[in-house]
Amino acid sequence: MNLSTSSSDSQAWGRWLATFLCMAALGACMIFALVILVDPYDSGRFGFIGIKGISDESPRTANASRGRDPQFSAAVFGNSTGQLLKPTELSQATGVRFVQLTIPGTGPREQIVQLRWFVRHHARADALVIVTDSVWCTDDPTLPIFNPFPFWLYSDSPIEYLGQLFSSRALGRLVRRVELGLGLRTPSAPDGYWNYELLGHGEFRPAPPPNEPADTAAVAETQFPAIEQLAGFIANVPNIPVVLVMPPMIASDLPRPGSSGAARLAACKGALARLVAGRPHSNFLDFRVDDPLTRDRKNFLDPVHYRAPVARRMEQRIAESLRVGNAGPTTF
């Protein structure tokens, strides 16, 4: 390619370069202006147009809006094992308005971020229900995450948030929100409830865990770094009632009594129970037990995802715990 030019051409090519840079800069500025006006995720940081609500199927991003919604003063946290707890049932039983902030496929790190986000926007929250399934019993201090999670969306820094809005995903959300504002879209459920039973057919094979004998000394030394982090969070919100829920699983898959798995699980449950011991209107509910409800396969979609009758029973116990604390029942 011949790259030589005359001096008059040089000026024209200079203008060409200036046009390229100006259009790129103009395009970038317009995008930033739009995201600042619309606030694609309804995170409350910008959004000067004032569109209400979101149209977003992913709880990973939609919870930024739900978690700061002032119509709710209590929330359920966790992963899919807490998804079937119905906010309307909990609200009716307790008299406080619940929102579902569980996110499938998340672990302690993501859930603590959700807890902080909710409390930051609800300084006088009425209740926190945290579904602490086995991911909280990890001894890995790095608290690994297994699916991508938008930590920037829940960050304290608006700059970090703004830096992530220059993306096709954010622009997609922006278009949806504008359509929502224009009445062309229906908003997502404000309370975040979604019934996973609509998807599953419920055929599964039980897989009992290995029956290794318990090493009592090793279990006694086990640390639960996720629970330690949760303890730090709970200590910072002394006035908010907290109910920790160990969700049920099919009884046939529970660790055999006397095995190392059972000893670990017991140690983990003990650590969780200690977090809320003596705290007003708070409790640790242990549904991971061998019980007529958990022995019936009809009550499960798969080994860890229970069906509606189990969820209704759990909601009753959560409501009782919020009323009387650990003076009430601690299991089914």
Binding site: M1, T5, W13, P148
Partner: protein
């Protein structure tokens, strides 16, 4: 730092341009500044590897000086052997160990080695210079200029494999000489076109094909899913051609014109033509430094020269496969292309002339089918894809394959990207500049999702 991430496009590249703008009026600074920038770029992945790069440059440069001072070929031979040994250790030690372990049916050593980025490329750069030095074709160069030849950041990681004769004289030249605006405009156009190839053509294919190849590792590929898998040829074309176009564009912003690496290869009407248009700089290297020496070395009687010629062709292509990765699937892929090149050579010599359209179709089908072996990772996985071709995809699956159809049309119908760039920058039309400016923003928005795919050729 990838060419398609923000760290490069919004931080390193603009900062380098500003720094070099200040160095440009001072001829004595130009090469030094570019070497420092190149080392900074290289150190982004693993700062420890710059020691390897610096050692590699120094040792090879000293070997060249030793040869020039004494005319002893041992300096060159020793240096080339050392280069290949380092490459062999980092890239093939575990491959050799695994194969020996399989042969002797007992476990052998296993190294926990991270492959230094670009080692295949800078090793070949050394070899090109050293061989030509010994042939009396290459002159002596200062350490700074030689260091820049090996480390020049637009080409150091994945090519193009520029020959010393193509770039050495350009290093240290004034980038902001009269008329630099046109050169910059061409450079910018190359960068935008390259990013379009990568972001809008190659990456969507990656998202479609990765699950299919993952499925093939574990078992049969059903429901006609094997057909989209053939699209890997388009993915690797636009991925690597896109990378090379960005490299060429960035080179121009620093006053260096790098060689072109692709010339619309999937429009070739026979396989020989294809290999003259696909990864041109690697194939030129293999032709000049492997195939021709192997073909010309005197072994056996004259009447066996044709056999030697074709054996050299086959061996060169098998080595080409092995260069791409330490796996028998790569060797098989290269050997299949070698066999096909022998057949094409014989056909062109003795067979009837094929219509161009038939030649193009046969070439494209062969390239698409063999690319499955290149991508699959194992013969079992490749066979799972091939067996799946017996089942045709349904309409829904075909509709989901729209990115493959678009990429195929671009590969089969569009001219080479350098010709597209030449057309776009023939005259200084501001409308084109405006469209490219908006395209650049659109690409940055796309890259903002932060799950941009690495360039496929980085692993080689």
């Amino acid at each position: 730092m990838l060419f398609n991430d923000y760290a490069f496009l919004l931080v390193f590249l603009p900062a380098s341009l500003v720094i070099y703008r200040f160095a440009d009026p001072h001829p004595q600074w130009r090469i030094g500044v570019l070497v420092i920038l190149s080392f900074v770029f290289y150190s982004y992945w693993n700062p420890l590897f710059i020691i390897l790069l610096a050692l590699s440059i120094t040792v090879n440069w000293l070997a060249a000086r030793g040869y020039l001072a004494t005319k002893r070929g041992g300096f060159i031979t020793g240096s080339i052997v050392a280069n290949l040994a380092v490459l062999g250790f980092f890239k093939y030690a575990n491959f050799v160990s695994d194969n020996l372990a399989y042969l002797f049916e007992r476990p052998l050593w296993h190294f926990n080695i991270a492959l230094p980025l670009g080692i295949s490329f800078f090793t070949f750069h050394h070899i090109m210079y050293l061989v030509d030095l010994r042939r009396g074709k290459a002159p002596d160069y200062s350490l700074g200029r030689y260091a820049l030849y090996i480390s020049f950041f637009p080409q150091s990681i994945a090519g193009p494999l520029a020959r010393w004769s193509e770039v050495m004289h350009q290093f240290g030249r004034q980038a902001y000489a009269p008329g630099w605006q046109r050169q910059f405009a061409v450079g910018v156009t190359f960068i935008v076109i390259g990013l379009i190839e990568k972001t809008w053509l190659a990456d969507p294919l990656g998202r479609l094909l990765d699950p299919i190849y993952a499925q093939a590792i574990h078992g049969p590929v059903t429901n006609g899913n094997s057909w989209p898998a053939l699209g890997f040829a388009f993915q690797v074309l636009f991925d690597f051609a896109g990378y090379c176009d960005v490299a060429i564009g960035v080179g121009l912003l620093f006053g260096v014109q790098l060689p072109y690496n692709f010339n619309a290869p999937l429009r070739s009407t026979n396989l020989q033509d294809f290999w003259q248009r696909w990864h041109i700089t690697l194939m030129t290297f293999l032709r000049d430094y492997v195939f021709i020496p192997l073909s010309n070395v005197k072994i056996g009687r004259k009447r066996y020269r044709l056999v030697q010629h074709f054996s050299a062709m086959l061996l060169t292509m098998a080595l080409c496969g092995l260069w791409h990765g330490a796996s028998w699937t790569f060797v098989l892929w290269g050997a299949l292309h070698g066999c096909a090149l022998v057949i094409v050579s014989l056909w062109r010599r003795y067979g009837p002339r094929l219509p161009a359209l038939l030649g193009w179709a046969l070439t494209a089908i062969f390239v698409l089918l063999t690319c499955v072996i290149f991508r699959a990772g194992s013969m079992e996985a490749a066979m799972n894809i091939y067996r799946g071709l017996a089942e045709l995809p349904d309409l829904e699956r075909t509709l989901r394959s729209v990115p493959i159809i678009i990429a195929a049309l671009c590969a089969f119908l569009l001219p080479a990207s350098q010709d597209i760039v030449a057309g776009l920058t023939e005259r200084p039309k501001t409308a084109i500049a405006a469209v490219l400016g908006l395209a650049a923003v659109a690409i940055l928005v796309e890259l903002g999702d932060r799950d941009a795919y690495e360039f496929v050729y980085f692993q080689f």
